[in-house]
């Protein structure tokens, strides 16, 4: 096997990009032009964000950047190096302390294969953060319009987001 090729010799002389994911700062040994999804999944071993279309059309890779939903297949590592707070599904809640959306997706059994689930939850989390109460089903559908599910679980996803919204408002 050959020695690993150096992609950008100059990068080695500079500091490695430093990003903050789920509250933890970490240095990443990758080109700043690398799409964030590869860094999250392959360098940081996070399972939540999923690589879907790679063209910002499906929403499977959605994460929060400073609380706003972002397609991590389009965000470059260098764009979020520094002070921005990146949140993935893993940072939203845990089995012991689930986020309202995670609990609601289980309660409504709002998945089939579950590949789109992380993106759905992250997009909905941004919506719930903006809208603390009085959410309608039409608003949920509008907010999730660019998150695709091929299994056809959208009606359940809407019910789950509404359930989480009611819980949040309560």
């Amino acid at each position: 096997m050959k020695a690993p090729a150096t992609q950008h010799g100059a990068a080695e002389e500079m500091d490695m990009p430093r990003i903050t994911v789920n509250g933890r700062a970490t240095e990443v040994d990758a080109d700043p032009a690398t799409p964030l999804i590869y860094v999250l999944r392959n360098d940081l071993a996070l399972n939540g964000p999923k690589l879907g279309c790679g063209r910002a059309q499906c929403g499977a890779c959605t994460v929060l950047v400073d609380g706003h939903a972002a397609r991590s297949c389009q965000v470059k590592l260098g764009d979020v190096a520094g002070a921005q707070q990146i949140t993935t599904l893993e940072g939203l809640g845990t089995p012991e302390a689930p986020h309202a959306l995670q609990a609601a997706f289980i309660a409504e059994q709002a998945a089939q294969c579950g590949y789109c689930t992380s993106g759905m939850i992250m997009q909905a989390a941004a919506l719930l953060a903006e809208r603390r109460s009085g959410l309608t089903e039409a608003q949920v559908a509008e907010a999730l319009e660019h998150n695709l599910c091929r299994c056809g679980t959208q009606p359940r996803v809407v019910r789950a987001v509404m359930r989480a919204s009611r819980q949040q408002g309560a």
């Binding site: 279309c53 995670q102 289980i106 091929r150």
Partner: protein, 748 residues
């Protein structure tokens, strides 16, 4: 069907051929199991008890199934079935699925057959294990077996006597052939089957735990990608290997004929290198797809294998009138959200492949032939992928990973196709043409019915005894040709699936015009030909009802002998508030500025499985031709429900997917390949287009469980089509019903 396995082809083919009749022999109640031959066919084919259930002296209870989780919830249902027969809490069971070194060979997880065949086999194996362990206690205590009770894996006798399964298992061998005549618990005694046990895989999916094959990261893993030819027919002429191996991050470039794979340190580097290699390499192109014809013209004018596969002569009579119509559907894709992925490791002459294939054993056979290895040197282990909805790139990518892994022994290589690679290179669902003709009597009833279908193949899966159906094998220096292509035989059928009428027409004929040449490679898309045959037939019967001047529901009931179908139709009509009236061709139903209509569609999937009726209400904008779904209702009956919420999830999901196929989806190609390579070029349904759905399940615990995963697609497409007919008074003959086509029909 292509679902055969190398070792048991005859068995599975017979199973496919006999499915409708076998359903009768698969009664879950004890009395019906006396019928010969004894025992579930899947258990007869895999009789080792320990390939279904293992109870170990240390207290573990391991349940094994050759079926695999595709997102349909089958492992939750299998857990329920096993827990029911073993009298153990479902959470205590460990499950192993789809591993060629461990589980039974159940062919492919497809065709809505897992519960009906795989579930029945697992149930009898578990019933055998339970009876054996209870017998140990009975003999130890010198009491009758019937006097003993089992509570969560503890055998209880009179006077507070207790023996755990672990203690009993230490005194008897469960490594032996299964007792095929073991008696299942009678349905009325069940407490777990029939309940909506929550899916066991959903929590891990909402917390981002490692579930998917894409999440596997073994130590030292490297990333692979394939540099695809610019068209299906293109072959490699020249590539500067030294340049390619010097691309950023590249560790190795593997070239074998026109197959070029890249191994790199990082995933994006592998993908980038593959893209640049495709662009830089010199290729020799082949002939234009379809000889430059349109797909429908190609289907109906190029030589095909024409066979009448079903016929029933009607009593001679002179029809009062005849009606003829033709319907078309373009190519449609699986369009999974996550592209296909596989990991492979080659070490000491042995290959291990992790795959989200629907059939670990069939895949192993094709891998062996594609790699020219012995099947015994290959282990295929299932890991979950993104939903596949049939034969997508899941199997192909396994050979890609294996070819790269073989070139770098000792390292695990992971290949995750790009989405555009999946859309261009996966097998598509076939374009189809259906022509229907009916002879109607003076009373308006249908006296005879003819169904002609023109189609490309619906199953070119791995699993035959010869050839290799994994795409990259065809591009090697010494290519391995694909297996011979056959159309699936009735009663399940492939191109003719659901072409045999569900109605009791006196005269019937079904004729297939089957193409084995595939300018665009096609294979199983959920329901095979079933969706489109059902849609066309149900559209046509509405047109006949209209000609007879009869309400579509009343017209159907008049022709139905199958009371289970009548029951779901009546239920769908009841919950939707159906207003009986004849559809008048040429007259739309205006309501304000829009045209509104309601339609119904129904099937008995494969003429042997779930009974589903769907009602859809649509509105059509006459200025633009845009169809909006307003609401959909469904009624389902699939015998004994294992997990009612699981069934509802499948039925509703199928309705959403079928709505997408029916209104939006159509693949396009250029001279050399499909070009619908992303969700902009090939849109699928989004949240805003999905209407409220109301779904009702009719449980029949007295009847065998039937396959349900593909039950709602045909009825949904048909209900939408018939709602458009009701709204516009016009027939739109080509799926998808795009605004352009609806507008053209309105202006015709």
């Amino acid at each position: 069907m292509g679902m055969q396995t190398p070792t048991r082809r005859g068995f599975v083919a017979g199973l496919a051929a006999g499915a409708a009749g076998l359903a009768i022999g698969f009664r879950l109640d004890a009395s019906a199991q006396q019928a010969a031959p004894v025992g579930p066919p899947m258990l007869r084919a895999n009789p080792k008890l320990d390939s279904w259930v293992r109870l170990t002296p240390d207290g573990r209870i391991v349940v094994l199934t050759g079926r695999v989780e595709l997102g349909q919830g089958v492992l939750t249902a299998m857990r329920q079935i096993a827990a029911e027969e073993l009298d153990v809490a479902p959470a205590r069971l460990e499950l192993i699925s789809g591993d060629t070194a461990e589980t039974a060979n159940e062919g492919v997880t497809a065709g809505s057959q897992s519960i009906k065949f795989g579930g029945e086999a697992l149930a009898v194996a578990c019933a055998d294990a339970r009876a054996t362990l209870v017998n140990v206690a009975a003999e130890t205590w010198g009491v009758e077996r019937a006097a003993l009770n089992v509570s969560d894996g503890v055998i209880e006798g009179i006077g507070g006597r207790r023996m755990t399964y672990a203690e009993a298992a230490a005194r008897v061998s469960l490594v032996r052939p299964a007792n095929l005549a073991a008696q299942r618990k009678p349905p009325h005694a069940g407490t777990i089957i029939g309940t909506s046990l929550p899916r066991t895989d959903i929590p891990a999916k909402v917390f981002g735990q490692q579930v998917f094959i894409h999440d596997m990261r073994p130590e030292g893993m490297l990333f692979g990608a394939i540099a695809r030819p610019p068209s299906y027919a293109a072959r490699l002429v020249a590539l500067d290997m030294a340049w390619a191996e010097a691309l950023p991050g590249v560790v190795k470039v593997v070239r074998d004929g026109s197959f070029i794979g890249v191994i790199a340190r990082r995933e994006e580097q592998a993908n980038d290198a593959a893209r640049r290699i495709t662009a830089a390499a010199q290729w020799r192109d082949g002939a234009a797809l379809f000889g430059g014809k349109g797909a429908f013209e190609y289907l109906t004018t190029e030589p095909a294998l024409t066979r009448t596969i079903h016929s029933k002569a009607a009593p001679a009579s002179t029809p009062a009138r005849t009606h003829v119509a033709e319907y078309r559907r373009g190519f449609q894709a699986h369009a999974s959200i996550g592209a296909s992925c596989s990991l492979a490791k080659f070490e000491d002459g042995k290959l291990t492949v992790w795959s989200h294939t629907q059939g670990p054993f069939p895949l192993r056979g094709d891998l062996a032939r594609g790699l020219r290895m012995e099947p015994e040197a290959i282990r295929v282990i299932h890991a979950q992928g993104s939903g596949c909805y049939g034969h997508n790139g899941a199997d192909d990518v396994a050979l890609d990973a294996a070819l790269l892994a073989r070139a770098m022994p000792g390292r695990t290589i992971r290949v995750h196709w790009t989405h555009e690679e999946e859309m261009v290179w996966e097998p598509w669902g076939s374009a189809m043409v259906v022509k229907l003709e009916a002879a109607m009597g003076a009373d308006g009833g249908i006296a005879s019915w003819g169904h002609d279908v023109w189609s490309f193949p619906h199953s070119t899966r791995p699993g035959d005894r010869v050839g290799c159906n994994l795409r990259s094998a065809w591009y090697l220096e010494n290519p391995v040709a694909p297996s011979p292509i056959v159309d699936g035989a009735l009663p399940n059928g492939a191109s003719a699936r659901n072409a045999v009428p569900i109605y009791d027409f006196p005269g019937q004929r079904v004729t297939t015009h089957f193409h084995t040449a595939m300018p665009v490679r096609t294979s199983a898309l959920r329901t095979l030909g079933g969706y489109f045959n059902a849609v066309a037939a149900e559209m046509f019967i509405d047109e006949c009802a209209s000609l007879a001047g009869v309400d579509p529901v009343a017209y159907r009931i008049r022709h139905l002998a199958d009371q289970r179908l009548v029951a779901v139709l009546r239920k769908a009509v009841e919950i939707s508030g159906w207003q009986p009236k004849p559809v008048v061709m040429g007259r739309g139903n205006a309501q304000g500025a829009r045209l509104v209509g309601t339609g119904v569609g129904m099937t008995k999937y494969k003429n042997s499985d779930s009974h589903v009726a769907v009602v859809a209400r649509v509105s059509v904008d006459p200025a633009t031709g845009v169809v909006r779904l307003e609401k959909m209702w469904a009624a389902t009956e699939a015998g004994r429900a294992i997990n009612p919420d699981g069934i509802t999830n499948q039925i509703e999901g199928g309705m959403v997917q079928a709505a997408s196929w029916t209104l939006l989806e159509e693949g396009r190609w250029d001279r050399g390949r499909m070009v619908s390579e992303d969700y902009t070029a090939y849109p699928i349904i989004d949240f805003e287009r999905i209407p409220p759905i109301e779904s009702v399940l009719i449980d029949r615990p007295d009847l065998p469980s039937l396959g349900v995963g593909e039950g709602s697609q045909g009825p949904t497409g048909a209900a939408i089509a018939n709602a458009i007919l009701d709204a516009t008074g016009r027939r739109v003959a080509e799926i998808p019903f795009t605004p352009e086509r609806v507008l053209a029909a309105l202006r015709a």
